[in-house]
């Protein structure tokens, strides 16, 4: 057990632990990529990692800066074209878990990565949806990793880039979507899961040293806590070592300033 870890390391470790050895993951850049590769190098050595650039079963030694870095292709079982990736592998229903994040999230885990402000005249133009609209509906389940701030966790998102649980309840079913959608939201403060019936996000565990008040203060709606909310187990020495080695190799590989 290690006492010295950053909130970001806790988030990555918590996300990694949620992954299983038999998962087939659609991996995004940043925290998801760190979490998936940490899982692969610890408890889930056979996990299948797929990046939307077309690489199937990739085993990178360093984290990619972009979704199509050479390392991903060089260590993949095979690489397919992008249309094939979206048609056969994602839409075909072969991915068990997808990772998403965003600039804004609401209480039903709907995400915005498109604009802040009105679409036609945004105050901030964000990169856009990319793979997210279909990742959100085609993967068996979705994990979300995000920085926990009041600016991101908002009462009302400015744009629905990708579907979470819609307006709650059986929203997804009404839209003809049969996959589970977001099952976990993992931040640097806590882990949230949707309530079984209402689908509203509920805090199920607080990271070590984090209080309910901190989470409430960082959330733009009245966040709910599960009865008997637990504490996330802190990162183990092994988890921290593997994660830090991964980041150190990445930094060295990306021109020293990753």
């Amino acid at each position: 057990m290690s006492a010295n870890f950053t909130p970001n390391e806790m988030m990555t470790v918590a996300a990694a632990r949620a992954l299983r050895n038999d998962d087939v993951c659609f991996v995004g850049i940043g925290a998801p990529s760190a979490a998936c590769n940490l899982a692969r190098q610890t408890h889930a050595p056979d996990i299948v990692l797929i990046y939307e650039s077309g690489t199937l079963e990739t085993r990178p030694n360093v984290l990619p800066l972009s979704i199509g870095d050479g390392e991903l292709c060089e260590t993949a079982l095979t690489t397919v074209s992008v249309p094939e990736m979206f048609r056969y592998w994602l839409q075909g229903g072969r991915i068990t878990t997808g990772f998403l994040g965003g600039a804004q999230i609401d209480r039903f885990a709907n995400l915005n990565t498109t604009v802040v402000g009105p679409y036609e005249k945004p105050s901030v133009r964000l990169p856009g949806g990319g793979g997210a609209p279909e990742i959100a509906t085609s993967c068996g389940q979705i994990f979300i990793t995000m920085a926990h701030t009041k600016r991101a966790f908002v009462e009302k998102i400015d744009f629905f880039t990708s579907l979470g649980h819609g307006q709650g309840g059986d929203s997804r079913k009404k839209l003809g979507v049969t996959t589970k959608g977001p099952t976990k939201v993992i931040t640097e403060l806590c882990v949230m899961e949707p309530d079984e019936t209402s689908k509203e996000l509920t805090v199920v565990s607080l990271h070590p040293g984090v209080t309910k008040e901190q989470v409430t203060a960082a959330t733009g709606w009245q966040i709910k806590f599960a009865p008997g909310v637990g504490e996330t187990p802190p990162p183990t020495d092994t988890e921290l070592k593997v994660l830090r080695d991964l980041h150190a190799r990445t930094k060295a590989a990306h021109g020293g300033n990753a």
Binding site: G54, L65, S66, C73, P83, Y119, P127, G129, P133, G255
Partner: protein, 282 residues
């Protein structure tokens, strides 16, 4: 049949003001040298299309070459925003640009449909997403067999596709390896095409029968530009220059630093500068 031309001749002959142009590449094989030539030849009012517009489109937009951008994810991968795209879209500098926005799945399917000669693509998409509200080209059809509601988008109609590849043989057959993105579909979706390559060889000798090969009779012009994908990369030749992608964030942040960089590194230079990058990493 493919014509072997200099890069300047290839762009001159194939890219016209007002064209619908795709310079594709999914992180890998992005045709930077060709994009720079389009800027040097001062093409205007281009309708730029690409799944992941990154630095080269930021440069084209910042230099006033574009009037429309069709895309699904516009950013500097792993780094942040495209500042020149944002400035053009939000503030109209150097000119206002219109956007047509999709998801990756929609764009990939739209290229695939265009390559297949179909008028539209059908896929299971956009469910619960808001883009169909702001992009009227996204429509819905009902499956005639199952009754399932599916999304449709029009095929991407291209005047010209521009790509970079590892090599071509003397007959003009082009080989792509590694992350192959949507380049094959883009070339087959276009009326005209320009392919820059690292080298010309006598025989392609593909290492695998499943390598992506564009037959010479499907390709318009071929120009040899070693290093032509830098700061993107060419699998088997040189690596992605991640440090430059990070540096671009600061260069493009202000109009002045952007203009000075473009003047020095693009307007006053030619495609031969890319060779240094090919050599450096070899």
């Amino acid at each position: 049949m493919a014509a072997f031309l200099s890069l300047a001749e290839a762009i001159e002959a194939n890219v016209r003001d007002g064209d619908a142009v795709a310079m594709e590449g999914f992180t890998h094989l992005i045709p930077f040298a060709a994009g720079h030539e389009v800027i040097r030849q001062r093409r205007k009012r281009l309708s730029l299309i690409r799944m992941t517009p990154d630095l080269i489109y930021d440069q084209l937009i910042g230099m006033g070459c574009a009037e429309r951008l069709t895309f699904s994810w516009g950013g500097n991968p792993g780094v942040g925003s495209l500042h020149r795209f944002r400035d053009a879209y939000q503030n109209g500098w150097p000119n206002r640009i219109e956007i047509v926005e999709h998801s990756h799945a929609a764009m990939a399917n739209a290229y695939d449909a265009a390559a297949a000669g179909l008028p539209f693509a059908v896929f299971r998409g956009y469910r619960g997403a808001e883009l169909p509200r702001v992009n009227p080209s996204i429509k819905e059809v009902t499956c005639p067999y199952t009754g399932e509601k599916l999304a449709t988008v029009p095929a991407v109609k291209l005047d010209v596709a521009i790509i970079h590849a590892q090599k071509a043989d003397r007959k003009g057959n082009v080989l792509l390896e590694g992350i192959v993105g949507v380049q094959k579909e883009a070339v087959l979706a276009a009326k005209r095409s320009v392919v820059t390559v690292e080298e010309i060889v006598d025989e392609l000798n593909p290492p695998s029968p499943n390598s992506v090969v564009l037959p010479g009779w499907t390709v318009g012009a071929i120009a040899v530009v070693p290093g032509g994908a830098h700061p993107s990369y060419t699998h088997g030749y040189y690596k992605r220059d991640n440090a430059f992608y990070k540096a671009w964030d600061e260069i493009a942040h202000e109009r002045d630093s952007f203009s000075a960089w473009m003047d020095e590194n693009v307007l006053r230079k030619g495609p031969e500068v890319f060779a240094a990058h090919a050599k450096k990493a070899a």
